[in-house]
Symmetry: C2
Subunit: 477 residues, 2 copies
């Protein structure tokens, strides 16, 4: 039985065995208290060892230090102390594995940088236990939401010969001996000799292949790893991250917005209902951390308040053009407080998005109909020839969390745009063909999973919400 379950039992001196890792040991003359955690919950269970217990010798007790792994058998009794409702009166202890004083996760404050270097052990801290339990629950909520709504999970390829975004920054995948790759007579790399017989990379998005599925199965979603070889050493970028990309036939932009709102509210509500202990811990952690910061650097809302803000408010919908008008009339614009100047045609910055969400509307916002020049080639063109049927969902504190669009379903318009942005139509012949054979209106969006986990956990560095982050010059573990 795991600790999560044992903690819910009514104490009646029944025998239980607790298996887990020692968080702390406090000794007194007559009695020793051992706090044990098994990762099933953020809460420890306390084992109490009386010094007159003959089954547990002093040597065993000495070997039980922070980080050791133990199995404690004893009676479950009502707790005498103030912490949990129950504790274990230890009768027998088996030590599976000791941990000497070099164990890095000692019970004291560690810097996040230090914990990242010890990513193999940081799961054993309260903070990272909480984060990865929440991450699991969000992933499960995503799969459950789509399954319940009749979507099919589609595994789109990781290794690809196409570039969905039409722009570089991809990792090469090869089996060549890089020191000595085969070359053609003209001295070029002879990719015909490579494993796949052509140049291949790691995918940046499963969307194009997802559309192929949607134009047959109607409702699909992807949930898989994607990659960017961007040399960005920031708190917001990973070279390897997980994306969720639903794609739905017969959905127009309005349906797409309704899906995005319902979906993201569902998964956050799921976390609120299923991760209450972990969220309460992270909220307190964040408040403690911000105590030392000046007022203007603290979060506007506490963690749970921010999550309820998203779940309880209907998202405001407006066009990009309307948003620009609001920004042009805004105080920070007039007082030149925005770092990036506002005018129609710009790619909105986080400061603009947050102004709209946090100051102007005080609710999550969906912006639509962006200028086509700043959006991808596959978005459906509006009749005005200037905008496309794009949508971005904007959240407090973070700005854009979801980006999507209705897709261009007119073969000729799509082909023209593909050529305009410099993609070789031959390279995506299969994508273009779906507009030739039974084309249909369809829409979809993408959500970066780590962005969502970052938002829900209130963490500030994206490297702390994925088990083993991949960033420039870092691929440890």
């Amino acid at each position: 039985m795991q600790i999560k379950e044992i903690l819910t039992l009514t104490p009646a001196e029944q025998e239980v065995t607790v298996k887990g890792w020692v968080r702390t040991k406090r000794g007194q003359a007559a009695v020793t208290f051992i706090a044990i955690n098994d990762g099933s919950t953020i809460n420890n269970i306390q084992a109490v060892v009386d010094s007159d217990n003959n089954q547990i010798n002093e040597e065993t007790l000495r070997s039980i230090t922070t980080g050791a792994c133990v199995a404690v058998t004893g009676k479950l009794i009502a707790s005498q102390g103030s912490g949990q409702a129950v504790e274990v009166k230890a009768e027998k202890i088996e030590v599976y594995g000791t941990a000497d004083e070099t164990f890095p996760m000692q019970p004291k404050r560690h810097s996040m940088e230090f914990l990242r270097e010890k990513a193999h052990l940081r799961f054993r801290t309260n903070t990272f236990g909480a984060i990865f339990r929440i991450r699991h629950n969000l992933a499960f909520a995503i799969n459950k939401y789509f399954n319940d709504k009749g979507f099919f999970y589609l595994h789109t390829p990781i290794i690809t010969a196409s570039d969905a975004e039409g722009a570089g920054e991809m990792f090469h995948v090869t089996t060549f001996d890089i020191k000595n790759p085969p070359k053609t007579e003209t001295g070029e790399i002879d990719y015909k000799e490579d494993f796949f017989g052509r140049e291949t990379s790691l995918t940046v998005s499963g969307q194009l292949e997802g559309e192929l599925g949607a134009l047959a199965l109607s409702k699909i979603y992807t949930f898989g790893p994607t990659f960017r070889a961007e040399n960005s050493n920031t708190t917001r970028h990973l070279a390897e991250f997980w994306m969720i990309e639903p794609e739905v036939a017969f959905y127009e932009l309005e349906d797409n917005m309704a899906l995005a709102e319902d979906f993201v509210q569902y998964v956050i509500k799921y976390a609120l209902e299923n991760c209450a202990d972990d969220l309460a811990f992270l909220e307190k952690r964040l408040l403690d951390e911000e105590k030392n910061k000046p007022q203007n650097e603290r979060s506007e809302m506490a963690l749970l308040e921010k999550l309820r803000f998203v779940v309880d408010n209907q998202f405001e919908r407006l066009t990009y053009t309307e948003a620009i008008e609001i920004l042009l009339k805004s105080k920070p614009h007039k007082e030149k407080k925005f770092q990036y100047p506002v005018e129609w045609g710009i790619d909105l910055q986080s400061e603009h998005e947050r102004y709209l969400v946090e100051k102007h509307f005080k609710k999550p916002v969906i912006l639509t109909n962006y200028p086509r020049e700043i959006k991808a080639f596959y978005m459906k063109q509006d009749a005005d020839g200037k905008t496309v049927r794009a949508m971005d969902v904007l959240f407090p504190g973070i700005g854009e969390i979801i980006g999507g669009s209705q897709r261009e379903d007119d073969y000729e318009k799509l082909l023209t745009r593909v050529k305009e942005v410099g993609i070789d139509p031959e390279n995506i012949w299969w994508y273009l063909e779906t507009r030739k054979f039974g084309s249909a209106p369809h829409s979809g969006f993408g959500l970066g999973f780590e962005r969502l986990v970052l938002f829900v956990t209130g963490m500030t560095n994206i490297r702390d919400v994925i088990p083993f982050p991949r960033t420039p010059k870092s691929a440890e573990f």
Copy 2:
């Protein structure tokens, strides 16, 4: 409303709109029948167009051919024909996208090779619709099983600097210009200059990182893509495939076997209950296909019988050594019918595994305690010094479907073995450290997802159960 749902309604002349792709159109003088499918189910809905309908002109009707995408609005009535219970009396038809006679998925028999070349459109056939709906349901059942049992889904890294199996066959990942990579003074490739500052590859397994999670959160599972750069052009190998790898702290080999049996029975039962129509279709397809084969090449069991064989039988457990004894006494061994000779120490071949399952025990089999020389370095060594606490789950028709073990949790034994097999301990220092700090008995196993989908769908080529297969010289789409 999707067709799956409409087909369950009681017909009462209520207005419905059906959106989907035309499978067939049959015309008569007075009436036209259009079979429409939207991928939500294998079943089509029939739209009936009376020739005296003024809303639907002849031109529209002419443009509706196999592959076209349409929205048909009309009254839902009891079906006159023999197929479904209901049909739509069309009042209005909107054609979203036509499909001319070059549409490749015409209603006739296509070879599997042809459909693989048209993987962007094969979703629109009955067979591939069924396969990918079943694939979705299996994936969901896996996530649901583990979630319900308190496991946490762990995303282990795709790009890695370590090699879990200790043996080559990996894809390189690099941002170097392969034509001109930076070199050190001694002429070696200067991987310090590469994106991650070291040589990196695509993962072959998430197990080692999974163990790190289990030794903190107790119960985890991975479900993600893995890669093998093996130049194997067979019906059983993919260069990119999805793996499920649960890992559990405090589980010994016996617990691991119980988990594997319960898990695989659960997911197959889930498919039987949730994919009845699709499985019935695939069973019939297989029977039709095998009609043309000689008796000895046909399957021993029909598809549903084979699935129930796994769900209804308790798995037989025995050691590798016991299995070798049975094989040595077997008729095919004595009559020299096995292609590969049997003796203690061999890696069992599919023919041996299938003999045990299909002929000897007539139930699924779990073999344990294999010779350590044929198994991976991380498996826990038995006291005899000859075998390890490995387990393979063997299925009818396919042989090994799951491979796993209890893991070596003794630091010194593990370190010795790591060195013996030629892995640099420095390269997996983090893995070794978990045996130094709070080591615990733990176990896990791996299931190749496509192997499972192959088994459940009864397909014979693994390229047909993943949307876009990656194999030597092939990375299209």
